[in-house]
């Protein structure tokens, strides 16, 4: 779904920029461009997550988050799954990579408020997370 979304987003953006440059009524074209960008940022996570849920049966949206706000920030580039490794929303940071050794865990997370208490906290370096909450999965051991 990434290539399709990239293609659609880039085409629409280039068209609106071209229209802004060429059109005599710049105010209207600027309104269209602004509206497109605002809508993209508001509904971007929903479109991305929905696409990932359709194409990847192993895609997980944490129960603490929602399809409207969940944003993966780092993906596993090696495997066929393109699974997320790091993600965040307005309340939490999440990690679901190779560092999770326990077979019962689905992902770990830390709240943004707790992260402020960590020295040298890095959202994309889970070893710097000073407090960790763990989410187990419901199914049998992986």
């Amino acid at each position: 779904m990434t290539a399709t979304l990239f293609f659609a987003f880039t085409t629409a953006l280039l068209y609106l920029i071209f229209r802004l440059v060429k059109a005599p009524n710049k105010r209207k074209s600027l309104a269209y461009l602004t509206g497109f960008l605002v809508l993209s940022y508001v509904f971007g996570p929903y479109i991305s997550n929905q696409g990932s849920l359709i194409e990847n049966e192993y895609y997980v949206i944490p129960v603490q988050s929602s399809i409207l706000t969940f944003r993966p920030t780092v993906y596993d580039q090696e495997g066929s799954g393109d699974n997320w490794i790091y993600a965040q929303d307005f309340t939490y940071y999440y990690y679901s990579g190779a560092g999770i050794a326990s077979e019962r865990l689905l992902y770990i997370y830390i709240s943004r408020a707790e992260a402020k208490n960590c020295k040298d906290f890095e959202p994309t370096e889970f070893n710097s997370w000073c407090i960790i909450h763990a989410q187990e999965h419901d199914g049998p051991e992986l």
């Binding site: 780092v74 999770i100 992986l142």
Partner: protein
């Protein structure tokens, strides 16, 4: 003074063969694929110039040949292909998947021709899928990413000292070289890259370069998982793939890409 010949020392012989310990007989599937959408990208051989359809049995023979060429268990390749190409999916989902993989391949080819013009990843400011691969995203019959495919091909060349595919597969109509190292531009070549990657993963998981032995069930599950990536989601993929293999042994499920 005579010139000194430098000969590359190859760690493996290319005759290695990995098997699955205690694997029961799996029934061959001889029917048509149940998939409602049967299209693929393929460069024909000279003898296939006027063909518009490749029989499903012939595709299964390609799969067997690719597994044999890389000395990997045939059933493992069949399971991974079934995991990546759910043959029972609806027409709409399959069409969307084919369209997405074709577009990813198109962007990869464009990137190759236009000097890295297409971004490898979505920029961090993107409202949609920031950080996700674009030109180097997963694609093709085996759903492999371009860096993974290239690493697997290089591994075959460096450790087994041969091309990831034999010449009769590599060179097609008018001598066209299909070893492009781009996922999805030829689905027969994809099978050989996929088998090369499984061979690489077998060597990595067992810790034995040139593995030439039986694989335990745990090692097979780990290879399946590593094919999908790392972390809990990949482990789940690995256990699902293992279940598919076990069910096939017990006759509870059909491996549509498996024919002895």
């Amino acid at each position: 003074m005579d010139p000194i010949l430098l000969q590359k020392c190859c760690p493996c012989t290319g005759q290695e063969n990995s098997t699955i310990l205690g694997l029961s007989d799996i029934s061959s599937y001889r029917g048509d694929f149940p998939s409602p959408l049967q299209v693929m990208w393929y460069a024909p051989e000279s003898s296939e110039l006027l063909s518009t359809k490749i029989p499903d049995r012939e595709i299964r023979s390609w799969i067997k040949d690719a597994a044999e060429y890389h000395g990997i268990p045939h059933a493992m390749l069949a399971v991974i292909l079934q995991q990546e190409n759910n043959p029972n999916a609806s027409l709409g989902l399959q069409a969307a998947q084919f369209g997405e993989r074709t577009l990813t391949t198109f962007l990869a080819v464009t990137d190759e021709l236009l000097f890295d013009l297409v971004p490898d990843k979505m920029p961090s400011w993107s409202p949609i899928k920031a950080g996700k691969s674009i030109a180097s995203g997963s694609s093709g019959f085996a759903n492999m990413s371009r860096p993974t495919l290239r690493a697997a091909a290089a591994y075959t060349e460096n450790m087994y000292c041969r091309n990831p595919m034999p010449d009769d597969v590599r060179y097609r109509l008018l001598g066209w070289d299909q070893d492009t190292r781009i996922p999805g531009d030829d689905w027969k070549a994809d099978l050989y890259y996929c088998a090369a990657h499984i061979r690489q993963l077998i060597d990595r998981i067992t810790g034995k370069t040139c593995h030439n032995d039986g694989l335990t069930r745990e090692q097979v599950a780990a290879v399946f998982g590593a094919y999908n990536g790392s972390g809990p989601a990949a482990r789940k993929y690995g256990s699902d793939a293992m279940k598919k293999l076990t069910d096939a042994e017990q006759g509870k499920t059909t491996l549509f890409f498996y024919e002895k």
